[in-house]
Structures are given as C-alpha cells and as structure tokens.
C-alpha cells in the first residue's frame, strides 16, 4: 500500500470503518512506516480526547411538552394530560426512553369519531412500536416460541403462525394495549414494511368479516373471530395486507 493511500485510510481505520482487506493492507504498511505509526497514535489520542470532552447537549426541560402541544392533531381530552413532570425528571437515559413511550402515547392518539377510534389506536400502537424502538418483547421467527410466550401473559391465545413461505415472515411478539385492553401484538414483515397484528378480547362475541380502512398513510384491517378482535396495521399496499389477513384467517380455520 502506498503511503498516501495509507494516510487517506487512517481516519476510517481509527473509526473502525475499514473492511478486513484494507485493514490488513494498512496494518502491513503501518508496521513499516514510522510516520504513519505516529499519525495513527495521534489520531487515537485525538479520538479519545474528542469522545471524552466533546459535550453532548441535552434537550432542555419542557421542549418535549412544547413540541407535543405544537403537533397538529388534537388529543382526546381524557388522554390529554400535559405532564410537566415528564421532561423534568432529570432526563436520565432511562427516563428519556420511558418518557418517549409515554409522550408518544399522549401525542399519537388522533382525535377521530369514536367509530374509528379502534383503527386510530391500532395505528398509534403501530407507530409507537417503531418509534420507541419497542417492536418486540420476544424476538423470534419461531411461532412455537411466540405463541406460548403470549399465552403465558394473556388470558387468550391469538393466531400466531410464520408465513415466511408466503412472504410474510414472523418477526416476534409483544404485549400492548388497545382500547384500554391488554392486547397481543404479533409482528410480521413484508419486504421492508412492518405489519403489526393486534388481537384482544372482543366486547361482543359475534364474528365480523374483515373491513379495510385507509388513513394517515396506513392500511388497517379489522375483523372479529373466535371471540377476539384482530386489527392488522401496516404501510404496505392494501392488497398485500388483505393477502396477509387471508393467511391469518385461513390459519385459524
């Protein structure tokens, strides 16, 4: 490796961003080149100094609340409880994360006519699961792990099946809440899109066929079977979500 090339790769090397081959070639050059060795040491020292002493600014208290209140959508009054404590609790990392989930819950429930509130809540849950880095509690494509995991924590047992052959691989599951009820959220993927399938105990027992709603860029399909309400939410195309729902319903039959 030429000296100039070595110099040009030095930063990437110190940052751990070089592939194995170039790392090897660079190491060979440095072993023979005192000038490069010196530069490498200086860069390491500088990187340490920067990482130790370059300050990360933290969001000031109240900013989260201010942003929340500036968001275009109104939040139903019973949910809107501007919580001044939320951003002020010292802003520890854990606090910030817990706050993230809560704030989103406050912020993301769109005020819509009550008839659509289930779909809205499901969308909110879907969005929240992705924004709060909390997609799954149990991350496995093994349906024989996800199903018992959910059953152990809920008093019902939703359909869980890996549809990988059909192009809808199972990603995992988590516990969630929809309409104030404990819900199972089973997570699938379609290409790069995430599908959240919520299931919870229905208020009324009758089965209903799937109905599709489209809002906020999401497709939502709701139906009832076996005493459970199912809601599938995703930003995949409607036809693909319909295919998915058919698979789930066939699996239950």
């Amino acid at each position: 490796m030429k000296h100039q090339t070595a110099l040009s790769l030095m930063h990437a090397s110190v940052d751990g961003q070089l592939g194995p081959l170039r790392r090897l070639l660079l190491a060979r050059h440095i072993a023979r080149c005192t000038s490069c060795r010196g530069e490498q040491e200086r860069l390491h020292a500088m990187r340490t100094a920067l990482r130790t002493n370059l300050s990360a600014y933290r969001a000031p208290p109240g900013l989260a609340a201010r942003i929340g209140s500036a968001l275009p959508r109104e939040v139903p009054p019973e949910i809107r409880r501007p919580s001044p404590w939320l951003p002020r609790t010292g802003f520890t990392m854990a606090g910030a994360l817990a706050g993230a989930a809560l704030t989103l819950a406050l912020v993301w429930l769109p005020a819509r006519p009550p008839a659509d509130s289930l779909a809205s809540e499901a969308i909110a849950g879907h969005v929240r699961s992705m924004m709060a880095d909390h997609l799954t509690d149990v991350l496995t494509s093994d349906q024989h792990t996800v199903k018992p995991w959910l059953s152990a924590r809920l008093n019902f047992s939703p359909v869980v099946k890996d549809f990988v052959a059909e192009g809808y691989p199972l990603v995992g599951g988590r516990l969630d809440y929809v309409a104030g009820r404990e819900a199972a959220a089973v997570v699938y993927r379609r290409d790069k899109h995430t599908i959240n399938l919520f299931a919870f105990v229905s208020a009324t027992g009758e089965n209903t066929p799937p109905t599709l709603q489209q809002r906020d860029g999401f497709n939502v399909i709701t139906w009832r079977m076996g005493g459970l309400t199912y809601i599938a939410v995703s930003d995949v195309e409607a036809s693909q979500l319909e295919n998915f729902v058919k698979l789930v319903r066939d699996a239950a039959a």
Binding site: S8, H11, D15, L50, Y57, R58, P72, A100, M130
Partner: protein
C-alpha cells in the same frame, strides 16, 4: 419524544445556540410526524437526524445571517491527504478542556462540524453519516479527516497564542 436529546444536540451544534436549536428541533419533529409514512423502518434515529439537518437548512434560508452557511469546498479532497507532519505539540490535543474544545469545534465550518458531531457524539457509522448529510461515504471520510486536522491546527494555534479564548 424519541431521540430528543440526539436531535437537540445536532441542532444545538449546527445553530450555535439553544433558542434556535429548539426551533429547529420542533420543526423537525413536526415534519417527522407529518411524514412518518415515508419512514421505511430502518434506523429511526438516522432518519430523524436527517430531518433535523433539513430543518436546519430551512432555518438557515429563513434566517440568512451569513454566519454559518454551508460552503462546499472544491479543493476539499485534494487538500485533505497532505501529510500532516505535526510537531510534538499535536499531542496536547489530549489535554484540551471541554470549554476550549467546544469553542474550537463551534468555529469549524458547519459541514465539518456536523460530521464531527455525528461521528464523535452520536457514534454514527460513515454510512449513516452519509445518509444524514446527503453526501457519498468517501466525502464523509475526507470531511472527517479535514475536520480533525482543522481542529488540531486550531488547537495548536490557540496553544501558541497563549491561552487566549
């Protein structure tokens, strides 16, 4: 509010003050909520930081103060890989205190500053930085090298100048 600290940190370093940073962050979150369906489930923090940067650029246009304009440097690549040949004082960079370091970084051109902040504070990979700053990975590499070299030179100048702030 997810990643609010990261968003604020980038905005604070880019705008140079807390008040403007808050405006930029607020605008960024409004955009993020509005365009959430454009998010394709990769890395949410990277996506959000990209929006923060775009909000900053919009803010720059609206508040054209001439202070911190991005100026793409055509000689950038050519100059970057000159042998640094530093004197022994270069090692002093290790002993820089927080306040001085913050001042020196704040004086870097914005296009170097943002990359330094994304790398050293947010610990993004070159690829992620490339996405946020909308530049090729090779440019990330050269700008980062330039940023560090400029910083080192500024530090040495400052030392020689006898600790003037």
């Amino acid at each position: 509010m997810p990643h609010l600290d990261a968003a604020f940190n980038l905005a604070r370093w880019l705008t140079g003050n807390a008040t403007d940073a808050e405006d930029v962050v607020q605008d960024a979150y409004l955009r993020a909520f509005r365009y959430f369906d454009a998010f394709r489930g990769e890395n949410f923090r990277v996506w959000l930081l990209t929006i923060v940067r775009n909000s900053f650029l919009t803010w720059l246009q609206d508040n054209r103060s001439g202070r911190v304009l991005f100026r793409p440097d055509v000689n950038e690549i050519a100059e970057t890989w000159a042998d640094p040949a530093p004197g022994p004082e270069a090692m002093l960079v290790e002993q820089v205190d927080r306040e001085t370091l913050a001042t020196l970084v704040a004086q870097l051109p914005a296009e170097y500053r943002e990359i330094l902040v994304l790398r050293e504070i947010e610990d993004l990979s070159y690829k992620e930085i490339a996405q946020v700053a909308a530049i090729p990975v090779g440019t990330v590499m050269s700008r980062l090298a330039r940023a560090r070299q400029s910083l080192r030179k500024a530090w040495i100048r400052q030392e020689k100048g006898g600790h003037r702030a």
